[in-house]
């Protein structure tokens, strides 16, 4: 049998106390395909032995004064439930047949053999016990009952722990509840039988009253403390989450804002540089604060929508030329090749506006997606310029803006904005 193969990511990333990397050969009880506590399967995985061997060893040890059971119980308590052990295909009592109906799974041969062996050995055990000492004979059934009940409840606790790793369906939960109740009932029944056998059933009523009284007393005394403890626990968790968030904000402020402030202090005499730094920082912080998921930092990838691209381009030009650019975007659409060309043209226009019209105040960029038409306007309040007066060998406007738009099936228009300055209007039809 193969040694523990890596399991699905969902389970391996569980909150096991072991270090995550590398998958240490630490002893865990197996959560999958276990019969009782998953001890045998876990041990088998750890030792690299077939499960059946380990099980047989436990079974054999069981006959030596019940040592196997004791050992098993100790393992169960001490070893944490986790990922490990030999692989077992997810198994349930039912299987879903191709026609969609659930029916009892056909047990495979090994399983049947193991079960028969188990029953036979248990029978011989009981037989040998009851043959010899008739005194112990009377206790065997209550002890067995209690044992089974305890096993049920313990497995339940394991499952409760596992439920935190993987959400369990509603029906499963009902099933688990039933199992827990059954376990408790079995233990209770076992204890009752025990008392009957011991002949103390006569005082059953008294004992029961006494027991209930004691339990009520304990509940009264410890109840408030327990409630308080759970409250404290949840409160502490909340605080921890808050502290984490705080730390994240602090880290961001430290990374960006503080650094910028330091730079500003150092460059205090250069108004332009200070303004540039402050604006860049403002933009970044704003993106970080107001973006839906606060993922302002990982913005390294290429923008995929028009609005993003326009804002990114404006930010870059703003940073580079130190002229504030105000961006207003109405509507949005995915970026395609033609729009990318339009963005390039817009960038050129922004650079021109920042270079030649920056003294008049902020450059204004307006982009609008209306239906299939994408319109971008870039305007400045500088001195303005006359396209005809620009020498023919200056390619900036003619090629980078007008030519590029026309090559991609759009149009560009330069005009003197009313009230001074220049305005570049770019219009493009979307591809789809």
């Amino acid at each position: 049998m193969p040694a523990a193969p890596p399991r699905a990511a969902a389970t391996s990333s569980s909150r096991a106390s072991a270090p995550e990397e590398p998958p240490a050969r630490k002893l865990y009880r197996s959560a999958d395909g276990r019969l009782l506590g998953g001890v045998a399967r876990g041990l088998a995985g750890h030792l690299g032995l077939p499960v059946i061997w380990v099980r047989m060893v436990f079974l054999i040890l069981f006959f030596t004064q019940g040592l196997g059971a004791l050992l098993y119980a100790v393992f169960w308590i001490v070893v944490p439930l986790g990922v490990g052990g030999t692989a077992a295909e997810p198994r349930s009592v039912f299987e879903t047949s191709p026609d969609g109906r659930r029916r009892l799974r056909k047990p495979d041969k090994g399983q049947i053999f193991a079960l028969i062996a188990l029953v036979i050995s248990a029978a011989t055990f009981i037989g040998s016990v009851s043959l010899g000492r008739s005194q112990a004979d009377r206790y065997i059934w209550p002890v067995l009952l209690i044992g089974v009940g305890v096993v049920l409840v313990w497995r339940q606790a394991d499952n409760a722990r596992r439920a935190r790793w993987a959400e369990v369906g509603r029906s499963r939960r009902a099933f688990q509840l039933a199992r827990g109740v059954a376990g408790v009932a079995l233990v209770g029944l076992g204890l009752a039988v025990f008392m009957v056998v011991r002949g103390s059933a006569a005082q059953f009523g008294n004992v029961l009253t006494g027991a209930i009284a004691v339990m009520a007393g304990v509940a009264l005394l410890a109840g408030p403390w327990l409630v308080r403890m759970t409250q404290d626990l949840s409160e502490e968790r909340l605080m921890r989450i808050r502290a984490q968030e705080r730390a994240e904000v602090a880290a961001h402020v430290h990374d960006s804002v503080l650094h910028t402030l330091t730079l500003i202090q150092r460059n205090a005499d250069e108004a332009g540089e200070v303004r540039r730094l402050a604006r860049a920082q403002e933009r970044e912080l704003r993106a970080w604060l107001y973006r839906p998921e606060g993922t302002g930092k990982d913005g390294e990838d290429e923008p995929s929508t028009l609005a993003e691209a326009v804002k990114r381009t404006a930010a870059e030009v703003e940073d580079y030329h130190g002229v504030p650019i105000e961006v207003v975007v109405v509507g949005d659409c995915p970026l395609d090749e033609k729009l990318a060309a339009q963005i390039q043209a817009a960038r050129e226009a922004m650079v021109n506006a920042a270079k030649y019209g920056g003294e008049g105040g902020a450059v204004q960029v307006f982009a609008e997606v209306e239906g299939r038409t994408v319109f971008v306007s870039v305007r400045d309040r500088g001195p303005g310029f006359d396209l005809d007066a620009v020498p023919a060998d200056r390619m900036g406007v003619r090629e980078s803006i007008i030519g590029r738009m026309q090559r991609n099936g759009g149009s560009a228009r330069l005009s003197a904005a009313p009230g001074g300055g220049t305005e570049v209007e770019l219009e493009m039809e979307r591809a789809e």
């Binding site: 109405v330 204004q364 009230g419």
Partner: protein, 241 residues
């Protein structure tokens, strides 16, 4: 923190260049940052020069309502994010003052946030305009006077948000809500969003400045639709709220 009355309200003639031609406007500043209040007061509060008289300040919602009721200013410069419920709460509790027949109090939102929900929220609450804190002192004074006259002040960003809100990106244009903005109103908003001044818009569209102003006021009125229910649906559908 309390309503410190601005010093030096000498009734002398002011510079001819300021928008009011000797008119005065009484203003209350509501902002939880004292530094910012002080800065704005220093920038616009020199009454002889600007015609703006800062008659009170408040750092939170409760004090704002008290100060506004006590001083009855003409214009309130209102921050959007305030302790005690935010600018929207101030607007809600001052609604009677806004609707007053005589000397109505007008609100101009002044915020560092340019998130759409903040902007649309205060406009819907009854603010007559919205400017961001990066505005220059001169522009702020001009905006205050415009608001005082009952006009709306739309920054390019605000115009962008409104256009965005009314624009239908995927829905077919049978949406009745779309009819709420006429073609002309949208044209005006678009030019505002492109950074045009009202005067420039008038020149561009061959209409008078007054007409531009009335278009903008109409847009504002439509934003503050009385039918709250419809409005909520409208805003939710566009993920503005």
């Amino acid at each position: 923190m309390s309503e410190g009355v601005a010093a030096g309200s000498t009734p002398g003639a002011s510079d001819g260049e300021q928008p009011g031609d000797g008119r005065r406007v009484r203003v209350v500043l509501v902002d939880d940052h004292r530094m910012f209040r002080t800065g704005v007061r220093a920038e616009i509060g020199r009454t002889e020069l600007t015609g703006v008289e800062v008659v009170g300040e408040a750092p939170d919602v409760d004090q704002a309502v008290t100060v506004i009721n006590a001083t009855r200013p003409e214009v309130v410069l209102l921050d959007v994010h305030l302790p005690g419920g935010g600018g929207v709460e101030v607007l809600r509790r001052c609604a009677p003052l806004m609707g007053a027949v005589e000397n109505p109090v007008r609100f101009l939102a002044l915020s560092v946030s340019d998130a759409a929900e903040d902007v649309i929220g205060v406009i819907r609450g009854g603010a007559r305009g919205y400017v961001t804190k990066t505005i220059t002192g001169t522009d702020l004074v001009a905006s205050v006077f415009r608001v005082q006259e009952g006009d709306a002040v739309f920054s390019p960003r605000l115009a962008g948000f409104v256009l965005d809100a009314f624009a239908s990106t995927d829905a077919p244009p049978v949406d009745e809500d779309l009819d709420r903005l006429t073609q002309r109103e949208r044209e005006v908003l678009r030019l505002i969003a492109r950074g045009y001044a009202y005067k420039e818009i008038a020149k561009q569209l061959f209409i008078s400045v007054k007409t531009v102003e009335s278009h903008v006021s109409a847009v504002l009125r439509k934003l503050q639709l009385s039918n709250r229910h419809e409005l909520t649906r409208w805003a939710t559908a566009r993920r503005l709220v």
